[in-house]
């Protein structure tokens, strides 16, 4: 029997370490430490109900486990074979508990390739990875295939870059392989900068060896003996696990010289990012690895021609690499049978925002947004109405109700005015103001623009100022036109992907939520009640009983009135903090 405990960042923050310790102590107390193994794994994906404890072989899925539950799990489940009912997941639709995770709505439609080992193995133990066919793909490639044959498999599989660009991976490798040089590099882009996306972190935390193995395969294909992982310093746990994995692989001779006795040499080093979103762009990333400011440069030359230290360099994202060993072992035909015509395989998405099941999911390309949000995601939080889903991070766009049945793939998302990006999916409900959302993203872009080219540096700032004016109620209809024109110019003239996509949130909200912009500009109203400057708090004199709760809690003393008589808010003093609404027991205060 195995007890698997999620050791991802989210669950660790909710004391999953303590749960593992308690389980171990309880097992030892019952002299079961040799029969039952407690294993810290990577992320199960179901972060909403973490910390998760999964019992194998029966697949029992315990949610929101606390350290004090450990004793009951051991005494009831392990010893007596009775499941702990109160910790089982309750299906919100049927109001019934689900014992086996396979039957949960969250997992039913998922298909795990890149995440195949996350939540199954102890990422700090190479033997567990090897037991699940780990490093077999590397062995197979080195002993059975030539580099070109391997590249052909990847090309045939239809794998496209998962970092956002969607460039065919096999083709990228082929270009790098054809550029002759005395030294080449394989780079893994683990600078996951999209706020709200955490798939790369989860893969590195849950299955670091799959990335190491794939980098070595890539090295063999393009003729590189050196790999570099560029990873965010904000991910300490991923860094730690990656370091352990690299050391173990070296110890086993799976990195280093003469791997599998074939004469192939390959080793990996880590490079740390320092918090710059633009470093996700490959030329900026390379400059950052060279110790410079992470500013992008013009392409060509492409990194495949002249990259790190001026040598041919192949840059792929974490998730792209994680797919490679599976493709080699199961074949290109298997992989290309999954997905849509032009987007093969699966994609990992980070579901977040106003959704019931926040977490990490992997689904076949071609699944619809409706299936992802309402079946896997379990619908909108607190029974609210779905308004929009933002895909592709700050470079993406907001999709609406009318896009819910569009099959998700690279091309469809672009056609709908958004993009795949790295796979962040933020769900918004009726309470979110779309003008504010666009402003939020622009605020991010303005801060993260490296400043090298003026359309991005100045243009985005101007976009932000226009949006700020609109949310303050000072916007005009001409401003809406200006927003659109300026957005187009920035997209057309910016140097790198950051500026070429940064106006997307503005354009897509203009397209899909034009009426909200108009409401801000013409009626001077924020339909979602989010824009502070456009709100006014009013006390209904009929409902107010004069309990003084609001007046006592107002931080700026804007509320006046006698005891047991209706109170009044002075709009000139009111800072619209909402404290009064929260304290009023009689629902007498409303926003107009």
């Amino acid at each position: 029997m195995h007890l698997l405990i999620c050791g991802g960042t989210g669950c660790k923050a909710s004391a999953s370490d303590a749960i593992a310790e308690k389980l171990k102590t309880e097992l030892e107390g019952n002299n079961l430490q040799n029969e039952v193994q407690v294993i810290m794994t990577g992320c199960f994906g179901f972060c909403e109900k973490g910390p998760i404890v999964k019992v194998l072989p029966d697949n029992t899925f315990y949610t929101q486990v606390k350290p004090e539950d450990a004793s009951e799990i051991v005494k009831e489940h392990v010893i007596k074979g009775r499941k702990v009912e109160r910790l089982l997941y309750v299906d919100p639709a049927k109001k019934a508990t689900i014992e086996d995770s396979k039957h949960m709505g969250f997992y039913r439609k998922q298909m795990r390739i890149a995440l195949r080992n996350c939540g199954f193995i102890n990422p700090e133990n190479i033997d567990e990875y090897i037991a699940r066919e780990g490093y077999q793909a590397l062995g197979k490639v080195l002993t059975e295939y030539t580099p070109q044959q391997t590249i052909d498999i990847i090309k045939k599989s239809g794998l496209r870059g998962r970092g956002g660009g969607g460039f065919p991976t096999g083709l990228k490798w082929e270009i790098a392989s054809k550029n002759a040089a005395d030294q080449k590099y394989v780079v893994c882009n683990a600078d996951e900068g999209d706020p709200g996306a955490f798939m790369d972190r989860s893969i590195l935390e849950g299955d670091p060896h799959s990335v190491i193995e794939a980098m070595a395969i890539c090295g063999y294909c393009i003729g590189a003996n050196k790999g570099l992982v560029y990873i965010r310093a904000e991910y300490p746990l991923a860094i730690k696990r990656l370091k352990i994995a690299i050391d173990q692989a070296r110890e086993y001779g799976l990195l280093g010289n003469d791997i599998f006795g074939t004469g192939f040499n390959f080793d990996i080093e880590l490079r740390y990012g320092a918090g710059a979103f633009v470093c996700g762009e490959e030329t900026a990333l390379i400059h950052s690895m060279e110790g410079l400011r992470g500013e992008p440069s013009n392409k060509p030359p492409f990194p495949a021609q002249s990259g790190y230290m001026g040598k041919p360099t192949n840059v792929n994202n974490v998730e792209t690499f994680a797919n490679v060993p599976a493709i080699i072992l199961k074949g290109a035909d298997w992989y290309s049978s999954i997905g849509t015509e032009k987007s093969k395989g699966t994609k990992v998405f980070a579901l977040a925002g106003k959704i019931n099941n926040v977490g990490l999911i992997e689904v076949p390309m071609g699944i619809t947004l409706r299936e992802v949000i309402f079946e896997i995601g379990g619908g909108i939080k607190n029974g609210k109405k779905f308004k929009a889903v933002q895909t592709g991070g700050p470079s993406g766009g907001c999709l609406t109700e009318k896009h819910l049945d569009t099959p998700i793939d690279f091309d469809n998302l672009i056609a709908a005015g958004s993009m795949m990006g790295s796979g962040g999916m933020i769900v918004m409900d009726e309470d979110d103001c779309m003008v504010s959302v666009a402003k939020f993203y622009l605020d991010f872009t303005v801060e993260e623009s490296c400043g090298k080219c003026s359309p991005c540096r100045i243009g985005n700032k101007r976009l932000y100022e226009l949006l700020e004016r609109i949310t303050k109620g000072d916007g005009t209809m001409e401003d809406l036109e200006r927003l659109r024109n300026l957005s187009t110019v920035i997209k057309d003239t910016s140097l790198c992907g950051l500026g070429q996509t940064s106006p997307n949130p503005v354009l897509s909200t203009l397209d899909n939520f034009y009426h909200e912009y108009v409401a801000h500009v013409v009626d001077k109203k924020c339909p979602s009640g989010q824009c502070k400057s456009l709100m006014q708090y009013v006390i209904d004199p009929e409902a107010c009983v004069g309990c003084t709760a609001c007046a006592r809690n107002c931080p700026v003393n804007a509320i006046s009135g006698e005891r047991k008589k209706p109170h009044e808010i002075n709009p000139a003093i009111c800072i619209k903090c909402g404290a009064c609404i929260e304290k009023c027991k009689f629902d007498a205060i409303s926003i107009k």
Partner: protein, 162 residues
Amino acid sequence: MSHIKLELKPEQVAKIKEICKSFNNDPGELINVLHKTQETFGYLPAEVQEVVAAELNISVAKVYGVVTFYSFFTMIPKGKHPISICTGTACYVRGAEKVLDEFKRILDVKVGETTPDGKFSLNCLRCVGACGLAPVVLIGEKVYGRVSPDGVKDILKEYEEQ
């Protein structure tokens, strides 16, 4: 740069030199050197940057350029308990801004500042990847999940006696 003129002690200079040496004084390792130096000193004042520049044989302007480019590096000393509020999208739509406002109100500092007693510093960061717990606040290494504006007072209380 910084308005406080700092006199580095000889052993501090030696420590910086040691860090640079451990990366072979290679200018290509500048970011790693700065990571290590900030880990040791807590921040990167101008005087520290001057030593790094001299050791790696590059201009101070270049070091300064890198320090100010990356948000991870800071030239202002952080508080004893650095508070970071996640303002990633997932946290934003779940109310991170209101939580931030409450921290600002109680501590009476702006983002990027440190309280006069040096106890707390307030910063924003973009996504720690714990979106399931949104909105998220980090104090030091400790992660607080599902923070509400009302809960801010209680969180700060934990650090009162320290």
